[in-house]
Symmetry: C2
Subunit: 401 residues, 2 copies
C-alpha cells in the first residue's frame, strides 16, 4: 500500500472493503457513488446474514472476511459491525495487512485502545474513528489537531442521544423515566434493550476516547466513574429546575494539577450554560481551554446519516494520508489519571441511611419532605463511587456544576 | 529556519517576535510565560508608540521592525496590529525572511489573499490566522482539515459580535438600533466609530476567508454582497418575530451546481434554527455537509481572550510544522464564483417606489400599514445588490431563510 506515504494533493483512489451493510453502510455506499470527486468506491461488502434481502447485486457481497482482508487491491477497510470482538479481529487484521481502517465501533476502540495503538505503531497503517464519538461532530479531529494539551483543561459532553432525548422529556415535565424511555423507543431513539445507553456504558466508551485524544490518558472503561439515568424522577427534574438547572447525562474529562479525572454522571447543568440548551437526540461537546471561554460544538450524534457523514470525512481524509498522531500520548509529560477529586452532588433517596452513608465533605442543603428527601453537598469522586448509595437503585445521584 | 521541515513530535522551541502589544499581545505574553510546555517565548516586541507606559522592561521593546525581521534567532512573527497595510508589509517580509507568521488581521488577509498565497508558495513559510475569523472558534482549521469540498455545501455564520449584540437587543424589543448601539458602545462591544462592524465590512473580510478555506474560491471583499444593520427598526424585529424568525447578520457562502455565492446580509433566521439562539456578542458557524444535518460551532468571537486563544493554538500548531494546505484552492475543480442565485428577502421602506423597483421574481406578502410597509418575495442576489433600494438608507432589507 502506498497510501500512507502518498501526501500529494491529488490523493489516492480508494478501494473500500466494507464490513456491515446496515443503514450507515448503505448510506455510505450511495453517497460514494454520487460523489466521484472523492475517488473512493466500495469494492466489496462483507456481511453475516446470507438470508437478508440486499439492495445491491449479490456479487458485491461476501460472507468471508478473507475475501476483503486478503485482497491487495482493497486499500481501505470500513468496519461498521456491532460485535466488538469480531470488529477488533477485522480491524487488527486489516491494519496488519497494510490497509487503512475507518471504524465507528466505540466499544471496541475504548476496550482495546492500547492494543490498537500498538498495532498502529507496529504497522504504520492509519486508523480513523471520528464516527465513534458524537457522530457528525468532528471532536476527535479537533482534539488531535487544534486543542493542544497545554491549552485544554476540560471537556464536557452530551455524547449519548438516547439519554438526552429521555432527559429532555423528563425535564420538560412530560412525566418520569419509564414513559420517556417508551416514547424514545417508539420514535427509534432507544433500542429495545436500552441498557448500554441508559446505564451510561455507551457514554463511558466515548469518554475513554475523548480522554485519550484530549489529554493523552488511556483509561479502561471500568475506571471511569459511571452512573446512568434510570432512577431519575420528575421530583429530581423539578428540584433542578427550581435551582436554575437542567439535568443532563454529562461525560466529563478534566485536567487539574497534572491529573486527569473522568466520569459519566447525571449532572445538574446551569440553565444558562450552553449544554443546557442541547435538547432531544442532539449531542454536544463543550471545550474549556486556557484563555478562551467554553467552545461548543453541536450536532446529531447517532443514526445513519450523522454516522455516515463522519465515516465519509474520515475516508476523505485518507486520500491525504491523514492519521491521528496521538501527540499527547506520545509526549513525555502525560498527566496521571486520578479520580481523587472533589465533586459537588445532588443525592436523593427515600432511604435516609443511604444518603447519610455518602462520605460528605460538606453539606449545603438538606431537604426532607413527603415528596422526596435530598442532600446537596460535596464529596470526593472515588469515595462516592465506592459508596453503597452510588450503586443503589434506591437513589438518584447527579453532579452539580 | 528548520521550522517547516521539523515534524518531530517534540516540536521546535519557538522564539517569537511580536508586533503590537494591546490586550491580545499582553495576554499572549502572559500565557506563554505561564505555559513552559509550549516551548514558545516572546523574544522581542515591536510597538509604535514610544510614550505609552509599558508593563514590561523597556528592553523587551523595539520601535524598529528590522530588529525583529532581521533577527535570525526569531523564528515566529505574531502580527497583532490594526493597520492592514503595515501588517501586510510585516507579514510578507517575515515570510520572505523564512519565519512562520501568525496573524489576526482579517482585513489584511481578505484584501491580500492572493498575494499572501503567492508569498506562501514562493517561500514555503507557514502562515496561520485562525484568530482572524470568529476568535476562539477553530473554523479555519476545520474547513481546512475536516470539511472536504466534495462534502461541504454551505456555511452560515454569525461572525461579528458587535452586530449580534445590537440585534439581540433590538430583537428582545429593547428599542431601536441607535439605543442598542449606544449600549454596545457603553459595554465595550462596539467601537466609537462602529462603521466597519455595523455596515458589515468586518463580516465581509471574514466571509472572504471562509469562502477560500471552505470552497477554494478567492474573492475580493468588494464582490461579496453586503448590507449592514444600521436601518433595522423595532418594526422589523416585530415582523420577524410574528413570522417565527429572529434577525441576525449572517455571513453566508454556499455551493450549488458547481458555483459559490457569498453574502453578508441581515437575515430572518428561523427561531428553531441553531443560529437563532446565538445571542449577544457570541459568534457561531453552522456548517451544512452532505449527509449530515447542520453542525454548529459556538464561541466568543472577539475581544482579547478569544483572540489570544486562537493565536495561541496557531503557535502551538507551529511546533508541529502545521500549515494550511489550501487543498481546495490547489485542486483543479475549483467552483466558479457567481452571485446569480435566487434569494428570498424581506424589504421594508416608507418609500413605495423603492420597494417596487426591486427586481422581484415573485411576491409572497405585500403589507401596507401606517406603522410600516414591506414586501416579502424572491429576487436574484446580483440584481438585488445593484438596485437603488439595496443601497438606500431609507430601506431595511433582510434575507429570509
Amino acid at each position: 500500500m502506498t497510501l500512507a506515504n502518498n501526501t500529494s494533493t491529488d490523493g489516492t483512489a480508494l478501494r473500500i472493503g466494507l464490513f456491515g451493510f446496515g443503514c450507515v453502510g448503505q448510506g455510505l455506499y450511495d453517497v460514494l457513488r454520487r460523489t466521484p470527486g472523492l475517488r473512493a468506491q466500495v469494492a466489496r461488502i462483507c456481511v453475516k446474514d446470507r438470508s437478508k434481502p440486499r439492495t445491491l447485486p449479490l456479487g458485491m457481497f461476501t460472507y468471508d472476511r478473507g475475501e476483503i482482508l486478503g485482497d491487495d487491491t482493497i486499500n481501505v477497510v470500513v468496519e461498521l459491525i456491532d460485535d466488538a470482538n469480531a470488529a477488533f479481529d477485522i480491524v487488527s487484521s486489516a491494519l496488519r495487512a497494510g490497509k487503512a481502517v475507518v471504524s465507528a465501533n466505540k466499544r471496541m476502540i475504548a476496550e482495546r485502545f492500547d492494543d490498537l495503538l500498538a498495532i498502529q505503531n507496529e504497522t504504520g497503517s492509519p486508523f480513523l474513528y471520528e464516527a465513534s464519538v458524537c457522530g457528525s461532530i468532528p471532536i476527535i479531529r479537533n482534539l488531535e489537531e487544534y486543542y493542544d494539551n497545554d491549552l485544554l483543561d476540560g471537556l464536557e459532553g452530551i455524547v449519548n442521544g438516547t439519554t438526552n432525548f429521555i432527559l429532555t422529556r423528563v425535564s420538560d415535565g412530560e412525566g418520569a423515566y419509564e414513559g420517556a424511555l417508551a416514547s424514545a423507543q417508539r420514535l427509534g431513539f432507544a433500542e429495545s434493550d436500552p441498557t448500554l445507553d441508559v446505564e451510561g456504558y455507551d457514554a463511558v466508551f466515548k469518554t475513554v476516547i475523548l480522554a485519550a485524544h484530549g489529554f493523552g490518558v488511556v483509561v479502561k472503561p471500568g475506571n471511569i466513574v459511571r452512573r446512568g439515568i434510570t432512577t431519575v424522577s420528575s421530583f429530581d427534574a423539578a428540584v433542578a429546575k427550581r435551582h436554575g438547572y437542567t439535568i443532563k447525562l454529562v461525560s466529563s474529562a478534566r485536567l487539574a494539577d497534572g491529573e486527569v479525572s473522568a466520569s459519566v454522571l447525571p449532572t445538574f447543568v446551569r440553565d444558562e450554560s450552553p449544554l443546557a440548551s442541547v435538547r432531544d437526540e442532539y449531542n454536544a461537546v463543550s471545550l474549556h481551554a486556557a484563555f478562551s471561554d467554553a467552545q461548543l460544538m453541536v450536532g446529531k450524534g447517532a443514526g445513519g446519516h450523522p454516522t455516515a457523514s463522519a465515516v465519509l470525512s474520515d475516508i476523505a481524509a485518507l486520500r491525504y494520508a491523514y492519521r491521528y498522531e496521538y501527540k499527547k500520548i506520545a509526549q513525555g509529560l502525560r498527566p496521571r489519571f486520578s479520580q481523587r477529586v472533589p465533586i459537588k452532588i445532588y443525592a436523593r433517596s427515600s432511604r435516609r441511611d443511604l444518603l447519610e452513608q455518602i462520605p460528605w465533605s460538606t453539606i449545603e442543603i438538606e431537604h426532607r419532605s413527603p415528596d422526596g428527601s435530598y442532600v446537596i453537598g460535596t464529596t470526593v469522586l472515588d469515595e462516592l463511587s465506592a459508596s453503597e448509595a452510588f450503586r443503589s437503585d434506591e437513589t438518584f445521584i447527579a453532579k452539580v456544576v
